[in-house]
């Protein structure tokens, strides 16, 4: 239902590919109340290119995408699709105009089947009745192309978040779209899945689809994209060919200053001597396991030590974390926290024993969208104190301001509603929620997911600082480099059990990949990473 207003020819800007753009957004501005999320931003998308939208957390990338797909109304500016100025009023109008989107948070229905999530709205039908078998068959074919081996008839909610993300991607690539938008599609994927996604993207690019790709992984940006538009604080910084930039230049364009933090961190971490004080472990798990999710696993974490969990998706790293926190209950093994034997049956008990857990699933297990940033931050602390002893308001303000500052949360407004924050900033608030409780053991599952390069370095720095002050940390990330940079000890998981543990003295990414892959696939994977 694209409402056509007038025909307006658009000319290709200097430096762009030849031909006319499929989509041109000119001078777009959007405000949410007092917040000016976009201020005169222009983007052009050409057929057959992968176009990156770059910018820090809160720069306005997702907002720009939602403006294009009709989720948000535009205050001023024009959208031109194939030479025609249009006003796309809703996501379905955008779909009809040939724009297919994967939004930043996985926006699917966990109560429906995988196939339904992929096909809903365009199911194969016979006389108005959905043909479930044909639907499952078509879903199967698309999933195969992505190399994803899940049963189309299984319920989506039974799958981990990474699979859900892949299903969302499958939904978007299933249609013959002119424009494919991927807002941080790779945030919870492993190298293998990313590579499969890239294969599909390359094929679509060759077929003339214009692809928008958002990611905070610079390696991925440089691998797959042709051109990019850079935003900062809702303003356009510029349009560049990827090949003309170095990573450093790009980062400077994004944050508008030199990135010293990262280098400083590298230096500090390198200088630091590995091997923490060999005191009593803050956590000791012996033979911890749970039927169907984790085989008996031993793990020890000492104060001041960062233990990194490496392993592919589904290797059991998240499952182990959940058992350590009592988010799932174990059937076998014992757990000691600070020397005391405990059986964790509920997160509540873990929190009482000063264990904190940042879940990988921020949307369903963390963010409370209708509460303010301050409330979201203080939730866990309040829970440890019990609801009858409210936190004095002066303390509240001090803590919240401190962490907004420390994690550079934007907007720096404690009263902003959580759901209005950008994805990366929500992640920072959740991290703050657990740091505020001053735990003895901090379990971080993908803490830097969706966080921009600058902030990622800050968070890594923070974790390193906390460990230096005596905190035990369990650190999980799909990004191996990050695990290796931070951990004192690396535990590698595969097939739901621990297969290796070594202290992190000169462990290289390749070594871990080799362990993960066994021997046969080591070279293949190593070559890719």
């Amino acid at each position: 239902m694209a409402h056509l207003e007038s025909v307006k020819p658009t000319s290709a800007p200097a430096g762009g590919p030849p031909g006319d753009p499929v989509v041109a957004m000119d001078d777009i501005s959007i405000s949410f109340g007092a917040v000016r999320a976009l201020d005169g931003v222009s983007v052009r998308l050409y057929p057959g290119e992968v176009h990156a939208l770059m910018g820090e957390n809160g720069a306005g990338k997702s907002t720009l995408i939602k403006a294009l797909t009709g989720v948000y109304g535009i205050d001023s500016g024009t959208v031109t699709v194939e030479g025609r100025q249009v006003r796309l009023a809703s996501p379905s109008a955008a779909q009809e105009a040939g724009i297919s989107t994967v939004y930043q948070e996985v926006n699917l229905c966990t109560n429906l089947t995988v196939a339904e999530n992929m096909m809903l709205g365009r199911e194969p039908r016979f006389l108005g009745a959905i043909n479930t078998r044909a639907m499952n068959r078509r879903a199967r074919a698309t999933l195969d192309r992505l190399g994803l081996d899940v049963d189309p008839a299984s319920t989506l909610g039974d799958h981990p978040i990474a699979v859900q993300q892949l299903v969302a991607i499958a939904r978007a690539v299933d249609v013959d779209a002119k424009v494919l938008i991927l807002d941080e599609p790779t945030s919870s994927l492993d190298a293998d899945e990313v590579e499969k996604l890239f294969t599909v993207m390359r094929r679509l690019r060759a077929a003339g689809v214009a692809i928008v790709f958002v990611s905070h992984f610079l390696d991925q940006i440089f691998e797959i994209t042709d051109r990019m538009t850079i935003l900062r604080n809702g303003r356009l910084v510029g349009e560049r060919m990827t090949a003309d930039l170095t990573q450093l230049e790009l980062v400077q364009l994004m944050i508008g200053r030199e990135l010293e933090v990262l280098e400083k961190l590298e230096r500090e971490l390198d200088a630091e001597d590995a091997g923490p004080a060999s005191s009593e472990p803050v956590l000791r798990a012996v033979g911890l396991g749970r039927k169907g999710s984790l085989l008996a696993t031993d793990l020890e974490v000492r104060p001041g030590e960062v233990v990194g969990l490496a392993g592919l998706l589904g290797s059991g790293r998240t499952e182990l974390a959940r058992l350590l926190f009592g988010a799932d209950t174990s059937d076998t093994g014992t757990l000691e926290v600070s020397g005391r034997r405990t059986r964790l049956r509920a997160p509540r008990q873990a929190i009482d024993r000063k264990v904190a857990f940042l879940s990988e699933n921020r949307r369903s297990e963390g963010v409370i969208g209708d509460l303010s940033v301050a409330d979201n931050m203080l939730l866990a602390l309040q829970a440890t104190r019990g609801w009858l002893r409210p936190i004095p308001s002066a303390t509240r303000r001090r803590l919240v301001d401190e962490y907004i500052e420390a994690l550079d949360i934007r907007p720096a407004d404690p009263d902003a509603l959580m759901r209005n924050l950008s994805g990366g900033n929500q992640q920072k608030v959740l991290l703050a929620r657990w740091l505020i409780t001053e735990p003895d053991l901090l379990i971080l599952d993908e803490p830097t997911r969706g966080i921009d390069v600058g902030a990622k370095a800050q968070i890594q720095q923070l974790v390193a600082d906390l460990a230096r002050r005596g905190l035990g940390v369990v650190f999980i990330s799909a990004e191996l480099e990050e695990v290796l940079r931070l951990s004192d000890r690396v535990v590698t998981m595969r097939d739901r059990r621990k297969i290796d543990e070594r202290s992190n003295v000169d462990v290289a990414v390749g070594d871990v990949l080799e362990i993960i892959a066994g021997d046969a696939r080591a070279e293949e994977v190593g070559a890719r990473a």
């Binding site: 699917l108 229905c109 319920t155 909610g157 999710s293």
Partner: protein
């Protein structure tokens, strides 16, 4: 909707085997079946349904042991005859609850429908015109409620509460007295007995067809593990019903029951085979996601209240057949019975999960409780309420536990 090869919670991902893992028993046929039975894990949607079915059959069993004639074919069939209107109401309510909404107006709309029917008949309308008018009034009321809920973003609870008062008030506007219905067509629809007893050979044919159908269903399924138990249960229930129908050669039912069962059948088709129906489930799962997926959320949200309004007025007509009068004080609190039936039938109040067939079972459970009371004679009728209350509580708690177990 059955799930095939459910992966372990939070588990099996990329390199997951597509078929059930092979086991020592996988070779031999009976071994495979036994394995499929043993490892069967019903989907979260089916657990409450199976529980309700077990509850229903168990209650019949207990009643049969305690009271003479409790499990006679006619008594069991009367569960449907006496509650046909409630079945239709519960079907409409299921649509609404599946989207995460609620419709408190249906009881009043039932009363209004009996009034509209009685009043138009009294006025000399043809019975068909009266029926059409009644259905139109209910559907339009539902549609309006839906529009208010969607376009002004009003809580369904509030909007339908307003509808409840409005419809009840409209009844009094028509008449404060009860209006008798003396129309021949209504009389015919209300009490004409339809013989439905099956001769032994007919029963044999039905059971044979059932068996073949279920076998076909098994063959079409790729995963034996997820299909076997539902198919066996379906076969068992089908055979039980057939035996019931063979049990008494004088067995009769009414058109109300036919209409109610047809409504259930249509609802099942709409919910599972149409885009409208799947969108109902999608909205219940996550409305924001459904919107971003480009589904017609507005249309469907308004639509379910229209469906509920239609069902309420159809239920009202069945109630008018049953009572043969229109009265403002008919069906007071019936919306709560409908909600209770839906909940006992296993539909999640938060939406997104549940089956119409469950709601049918829920109504049968409520009906069985009433039959208990009337058979006993010493129990007073408020025991019905107590038992219903307890059951609703049990089922809501069970759902909570089930959803919490979700990874």
């Amino acid at each position: 909707m059955s799930t095939q090869t459910r992966p372990a919670p939070g588990g099996a991902t990329t390199p997951a085997p597509r078929t059930a893992p092979s086991t020592p028993a996988a070779g031999s046929r009976p071994g495979r079946w036994w394995h499929a039975l043993r490892t069967y894990r019903p989907s979260a949607q089916l657990v409450p349904l199976l529980a309700t079915l077990a509850l229903f059959l168990g209650m019949l069993q207990v009643g049969g042991l305690r009271y003479e004639g409790f499990t006679s074919s006619q008594v069991i069939l009367n569960l449907l005859t006496d509650n046909a209107f409630l079945v239709v109401l519960a079907v409409g309510m299921t649509f609404v609850i599946l989207t995460g909404g609620i419709d408190l107006s249906v009881g009043s709309v039932v009363a209004l429908s009996t009034m509209v029917a009685a009043w138009t008949l009294q006025d000399g309308w043809s019975p068909y015109a009266a029926i059409a008018a009644t259905l139109t009034v209910g559907t339009v009321l539902g549609l309006l409620t839906g529009l208010v809920i969607h376009h002004f973003d009003v809580q369904p609870f509030i909007a339908t509460l307003a509808g409840m008062f409005l419809a009840r008030g409209l009844c009094y506007l028509i008449s404060v007295e009860s209006i008798p219905i003396r129309d021949d067509t209504f009389f015919f629809l209300a009490s004409e007995p339809i013989p439905i007893a099956l001769a032994p050979w007919q029963g044999g044919v039905v059971i044979g067809l059932l068996g073949l159908g279920m076998l076909a269903a098994l063959v079409r399924r790729r995963s034996l593990r997820s299909a076997l138990v539902p198919v066996l249960v379906g076969l068992g229930v089908g055979m039980w019903v057939t035996l019931l129908l063979m049990g008494d050669p004088a067995l009769t039912t009414t058109y109300s029951v036919v209409i109610a069962l047809a409504t259930v059948a249509v609802a099942v088709l709409v919910l599972h085979r149409t885009r409208f129906g799947r969108t109902v489930y999608a909205i219940g799962g996550s409305e924001a996601s459904a919107l971003l997926m480009g589904l017609r959320v507005g249309l469907v949200k308004v639509g379910v209240y229209a469906v509920s309004g239609f069902c309420a007025s159809l239920g009202g007509l069945l109630f008018a057949f049953y009572m043969l009068s229109g009265y403002s004080l008919h069906a007071v609190g019936m919306e709560l019975d409908a909600i209770a039936a839906v909940v006992i039938g296993g539909t999640l109040l938060a939406g997104g999960r549940g089956l119409v067939v469950g709601s049918l079972l829920g109504v049968l459970v409520l009906g069985t409780i009433q039959t208990f009371i009337s058979f006993d004679g010493t129990l007073s009728s408020w025991w019905t309420k107590i038992v219903i209350g307890a059951l609703v509580l049990v089922f809501v708690v069970m759902q909570r536990v089930l959803t919490r177990r979700q990874p």
